[in-house]
């Protein structure tokens, strides 16, 4: 019976992946709190406009499609990374980056409109919980984009080393996780407002 002895590097790799999953679970728990808070507070508009009056479903749909696509392109980029094809990695993750940027742009546009109309997060509990829930997700996306940009720069300079591929794998995991959280946001925040 063949017995594969794990090398020192493989063991370390395995540990890092596992640890990152545990970290993602803690991040998920933090989002869970924000969802719970939103569930409790979203009706507290103090007579002001509710989600139904403020949200533009077409924007939310656009954001969802963009983010889903970016997860898809990240997936393809990851396959290329495992195959060691540097150019494809840069192309597909580059597209992911641009899509992410587009997502952020739409979200910032939405926020700017609300603020301009006087619906800031200090007005009532509904707006507080909306801005913090969606905004926290947006902050995570921003961190992911920053991380991706730096990683792509390193890959350009140092090439597709084993360490860089591992880092890409972690980033992909993070990105898919954010996509899943967004699906929940889309459902709980935007869709439910119109039901």
């Amino acid at each position: 019976m063949t017995h594969h002895v794990e090398t020192h590097e493989e063991a370390a790799n395995d540990r890092v992946m596992f640890g990152f999953w545990v970290y993602l679970m803690t991040d998920l728990l933090m989002f869970a709190i924000l969802f719970a808070v939103y569930a409790v507070l979203h009706g507290n508009t103090m007579g002001g406009p509710a989600g139904r009056d403020l949200f533009k479903p077409e924007l939310a749909l656009a954001e969802t499609l963009i983010l889903l696509t970016s997860s898809f392109t990240a997936g393809i980029g990851m396959i290329a990374a495992r195959r060691g094809i540097k150019r494809q990695v840069l192309v597909w993750f580059g597209i992911t980056f641009l899509l992410g940027l587009a997502f952020l742009g739409i979200e910032l546009f939405e926020f700017a409109e609300f603020i301009h109309e006087g619906h800031t997060m200090t007005v009532n509990a509904f707006l507080s919980s909306f801005f913090v829930l969606v905004g926290t997700h947006g902050l995570h996306i921003t961190s992911g984009l920053l991380w991706l940009a730096i990683l792509l720069a390193f890959i350009t300079k140092r090439g597709l080393t084993k360490a860089n591929v591992r880092k890409l794998a972690l980033l992909s995991l993070f990105w898919h996780f954010l996509d899943i959280v967004w699906i929940f946001i889309f459902t709980v925040v935007y869709l439910r407002a119109f039901v």
Binding site: T26, M30, N44, F154
Partner: protein
């Protein structure tokens, strides 16, 4: 312009009350003393290279002990202040503290004891002992380990920062319930210091918990299945899984409080739709599991101690493990019992009451496991075993009062009374703290290379046990007399004062116990040659940590042992397992990243406390830059070649042969009188030599 650079900081924030002046001077004197000592002995580089930047969990563990021990004194001082105030403030006398000050003292006392003493000492024990018990050389992520430690230190600094700037801490009770902790009712910086000291150290705890879980699940020696792990490792695993599940709740809740105060959002405010009751739910969803996070490692410690000192394997190991898992799981479902009186329906209250009572079942199974272990054992009453005996009585009292409090109609009469305070001190002191003390006594020879003085250790245990009963029995009684907690003064007609005074006397006895523990360490150091542990196994232990030298080399095990049973080391001793060949050992390099990130984290928190926005932004950028630099650092390991390992092991074996065996017989341990004589003689000698030098 000045507002941009300094935020809300102004000259009024500097110390100008007696306690802030006193506190600031104390810390500054302490700091200057340390700096002077280091400079005089030329040990700055040594400190930086050997300790501060170290990623060795043994060294990080010792640093946790030192900081945690120091905070124990600070929190204990708060306790004495509380006891003194309440003994004095009967009737017309309002004691020596104002109401606001008193409220800050007990808030700080609670925060310090839970976050910086208990968590710190527990993290120290897990860091040092768990890798040794599972046959590992380090934790899964040495970098996260040092980062977690320094974030903890940043939290320690933050919780003491108000002495120097601001002069006030939160006056809201240790969990700062809303809306009292909102900007409307607590406009000062006290609650902000509360937020950031807990937030920064909380992130450190979460990182540490992830690290410990990775280590225990992925780095055990070959052959050590989960059901062959030592029970301290099991207790730590259960505790850390709980930690990773609930500390994110605390992190987010603290952020929400921060947003309310800093940005004016309405999560927990009384106006504009905020929901203060939601804060109570969120904070206790973290808060209750937290106390079990503290307790589980202590359960594990006691299992180890009962087994070793009964000269028997632990009885009903699987039930013991299931008991610990049961406690951890159930602990996540009982949080509402902290606010039965907030007005939930009978359905909700009784559901949570039942859930709370059920926790007593796995806890009792643990006690049965210990009883069965002692049955037909050959019990040696060393100091750790004495801590165990004290733990059982006091913790049982805490458990019974706890089940009583779990009954909603009874809780309506006991909630927020001194009965409640006595209950949780019974469980936390009798359970968590005694477990930590027992563990420190038990593993001290492994850590320091010589065992602790047994005689003075016994005196310390007695002082703690007697002091506890004298201090907290009156609190149980006061609770039954209708006394609420957190009172800075009360009517003389109630007849409460004698009980408060009795509690104060108990407090002094406990303080004597703490003093004796310090004396114990010093006396052991004085007699360290005689007390030296040369074999690495002073207690005839059963688990793997005793298979190493005392203290272990940096790599713990020259050859990772192969395990086939529980009580792996005991097995090895019976079978005299042969040695394997030496291999190259990969070790992680030191790093200062943890220190730098924590400094930035502290500065960011400080910036948020004083609304110095540029400082907060710059510090956050600093954290990000440090993290990026670290993750792209490919050069984080070094190798010890096999021949060097062989040499080091041979040298250690030679030492064992030439030095005299450790004397486990404690009859020759110095007593108190001899200690005092020794110290006086030393002091006299020092004085004389200084006088002679001057001549």
């Amino acid at each position: 312009m000045k507002e941009f650079w300094l935020g809300k900081l102004n000259s009024h924030a500097l110390p100008h009350e007696w306690f802030t002046i006193l506190g600031s001077i104390s810390f500054i004197m302490l700091g200057l003393t340390v700096i002077a000592l280091l400079t005089y002995t030329k040990r700055w580089k040594w400190l930086w290279n050997e300790w501060l930047t170290s990623v060795d969990p043994k060294k990080i563990g010792i640093m946790y002990f030192i900081v945690g021990g120091f905070m124990l004194l600070r929190g204990g001082l708060d306790a004495i202040m509380i006891w003194l105030q309440q003994s004095l403030s009967s009737g017309a006398s309002h004691g020596y503290l104002s109401a606001e000050h008193f409220q800050q003292v007990f808030t700080a006392h609670g925060n310090i004891m839970v976050f910086f003493v208990a968590m710190g000492l527990i993290f120290g024990l897990i860091n040092y002992i768990v890798p040794l018990q599972i046959g590992a050389r380090d934790l899964a992520s040495p970098f996260m380990n040092t980062l977690g430690f320094w974030l903890y230190v940043a939290g320690v600094v933050m919780v003491n920062m108000f002495f120097l700037f601001g002069g006030e801490y939160a006056a809201t009770g240790w969990l700062a319930v809303a809306p009292l902790s909102g900007k409307a009712f607590s406009p000062g910086v006290g609650v902000d210091y509360w937020i950031w000291s807990l937030q920064i150290s909380g992130v450190g705890t979460t990182l540490g918990a992830i690290n410990f879980i990775m280590t225990i699940l992925k780095m055990r020696a070959k052959g050590m299945t989960l059901l062959k792990m030592p029970l301290f490792t099991w207790g730590s695993l259960c505790s850390m899984i709980m930690a990773v599940s609930v500390f994110p709740l605390l992190t987010m809740t603290l952020f929400l409080v921060f947003f309310d105060r800093y940005f004016g959002t309405h999560f927990f405010t009384t106006d504009a739709g905020g929901n203060a009751m939601m804060y109570t739910n969120l904070i206790w969803m973290w808060g209750h599991p937290e106390v079990y996070i503290l307790m589980l490692p202590s359960f594990g410690v006691f299992s180890e101690i009962v087994s070793t000192f009964s000269h028997k394997p632990i009885a009903y190991y699987k039930s013991n493990v299931l008991g610990m898992i049961g406690v951890s799981t159930l602990a996540l479902s009982v949080w509402l019992h902290h606010f039965f009186t907030m007005g939930a329906s009978a359905e909700v209250n009784s559901a949570f009451g039942v859930a709370t009572m059920i926790i007593a079942i796995p806890t009792t199974v643990l006690v049965f496991s210990w009883i069965a272990t002692m049955y037909k054992g050959r019990i040696r009453f060393t100091t750790p075993m004495l801590w165990f005996l004290g733990f059982i009585g006091i913790f049982a009292l805490g458990g019974i009062s706890g089940v009583l409090l779990a009954i909603p109609p009874v809780d309506f009469q006991l909630h927020n009374s001194l009965f409640l305070v006595a209950h949780f001190h019974s469980t936390v002191i009798g359970g968590v703290l005694f477990g930590i003390f027992a563990g420190l006594n038990y593993w001290f020879p492994k850590i320091a290379g010589f065992r602790l003085n047994e005689r003075i250790g016994r005196y310390a245990v007695w002082c703690w046990i007697i002091g506890f009963f004298v201090a907290f029995t009156p609190l149980y009684v006061l609770g039954l007399m209708g006394a609420t907690r957190r009172l800075d003064h009360y009517d003389a007609s109630k007849g409460w004062q004698p009980f408060y005074i009795m509690a104060f006397v108990g407090g002094l006895i406990i303080a004597a116990g703490v003093a004796l523990q310090i004396v114990q360490i010093i006396a052991s150091f004085i007699q360290r040659k005689r007390l030296r542990d040369t074999t690495g196994d002073p207690w005839d232990g059963r688990t793997l940590e005793w298979a190493t030298a005392s203290p272990p080399p940096s790599y713990n095990f020259a050859v990772i042992p192969q395990v086939s049973t529980r009580d792996a080391y005991f097995e090895m001793k019976q079978l005299h397992t042969p040695k394997h060949a030496y291999e190259d050992i990969h070790m992680p390099k030191n790093t200062a990243s943890g220190i730098y990130i924590s400094i930035f984290a502290f500065l960011a928190g400080f910036g948020f406390v004083w609304e110095i926005n540029w400082l907060a932004v710059v510090s956050i950028i600093g954290i990000i830059v440090c993290l990026i630099t670290r993750t792209f650092n490919e050069d984080s390991e070094y190798t010890i070649p096999a021949e060097v390992v062989k040499k080091m092991e041979k040298a250690q074996a030679a030492k064992v042969r030439t030095e005299h065996g450790s004397n486990s017989d404690d009859e020759a341990d110095m007593g108190l009188i001899e200690f005092v004589k020794t110290v006086l003689a030393w002091a006299l000698g020092m004085a004389l030599s200084i006088v002679r030098k001057k001549r």
